[in-house]
Symmetry: C2
Subunit: 166 residues, 2 copies
C-alpha cells in the first residue's frame, strides 16, 4: 500500500492510541488478578505508546487527517467467542495476555514495515522504518517476558498461535 | 458462563452500541463506493441496533453496570494485516462487508444463546432467549442479502469463512 503522508500519520496515531488503551486494560486486568509484575510491564508499554502517539501527533499538527475506520487500527481480539467461558478467562493469565499483546505489536510492526517499503513518499519511508524498529523492540521485550512467564496448566496446552520470529 | 443480570445487561448494551457503530462505518464505506443499496441495508441494521440498545439501556437504568474490557464486546475485524493491500480493500465489496457483519452478528447471537442457557438468573434466561431470537433474524436478513449479492471476481474466489447455518 502506497500511503500518502497524511494517511500514514493518521493510522500511526490511531494505532498508538489504541495500543495505549489496550495496555491500560491489560494492566487493570492483571492487577485485578494480582499479577502485579505483568501489570507493570503493561503500564510501561502503555507509557511508551502514549509518548510515541504524542510525538506523532505533534509531527502531524499541521496535517489534515482523515477519519479512520475501526478495522484500520483496532487490535484484533483473541479468537474466542464473545462471552464464552474460555474467552472470558483467557486473558486473565499473564502468559496469554502477553501473547495477545505480542500478536498485535507484530501487526503494528508489519504495518510500519510495509508502509516504509511501499510508499513513494520519502518521509513515510523514513518514519515507517523508524517506527518499525521501535515496534520490533517492543516485540522483543514482550518475548523476554513471555519466556520468563510460566505457561498455564494443561487446559491451555494447545497453542493455536505459536510465536514467530521477527 | 453464568452471568449475573448486571453483567449480562452491560455486555448486551455494549454489543448493541458496538454493532450500531460498525454498521454506520460500513454504510459510510458502501456510500463512498457508491453501493447505495448495501449502504441502506447497513443503515437499517444500525437503526435496529440503536433501538435495541436504547431499550436495554432503559431496562438497565437502575442497575449498576461495570466497565467492560474491549474484548468482551468488540467486533472482530477481518483476518487481514493492518494496512495491507488486501485488508484495506477487503471491506469495500458489499459481499465481504455483509459477510463481516454476519460473522459478528453470529457472535452476538451465540453470546445471547449461551447466556440464556447457562445463567441461573431467570431474567437473564428470558432476555437472552429474546435477544438471541432477534439476532437470528438479523443473521437471516444478512443471508438473504448475501445470496443476492454478486460474489467478487476470481481474486476473491477463496473463501476462508464459508457460511454456517444458524
Amino acid at each position: 500500500m502506497n500511503y500518502p503522508l497524511p494517511d500514514f500519520l493518521a493510522i500511526s496515531i490511531a494505532l498508538e492510541r489504541e495500543t495505549e488503551e489496550r495496555y491500560l486494560e491489560l494492566a487493570d486486568m492483571m492487577e485485578a488478578h494480582l499479577n502485579l509484575e505483568t501489570a507493570k510491564v503493561f503500564r510501561d508499554m502503555a507509557r511508551f505508546s502514549k509518548m510515541h502517539g504524542d510525538e506523532i501527533t505533534e509531527r502531524a499538527k499541521h496535517v489534515q487527517l482523515r477519519k479512520l475506520k475501526s478495522w484500520e487500527f483496532r487490535w484484533r481480539p483473541p479468537a474466542h467467542e464473545v462471552g464464552d467461558d474460555e474467552g472470558i478467562h483467557y486473558l486473565m493469565t499473564p502468559y496469554h495476555a502477553l501473547k495477545y499483546a505480542r500478536e498485535n505489536e507484530v501487526r503494528g510492526m508489519n504495518f510500519y514495515r510495509m508502509a516504509a517499503e511501499k510508499s513513494q513518499d520519502e518521509e513515510v519511508r523514513r518514519l515507517g522504518n523508524e517506527f518499525a524498529a521501535e515496534e520490533k523492540e517492543h516485540v522483543e521485550a514482550l518475548d523476554r517476558w513471555i519466556e520468563k512467564t510460566p505457561r498455564p496448566s494443561a487446559t491451555w496446552a494447545e497453542d493455536p498461535d505459536p510465536i514467530q520470529s521477527v
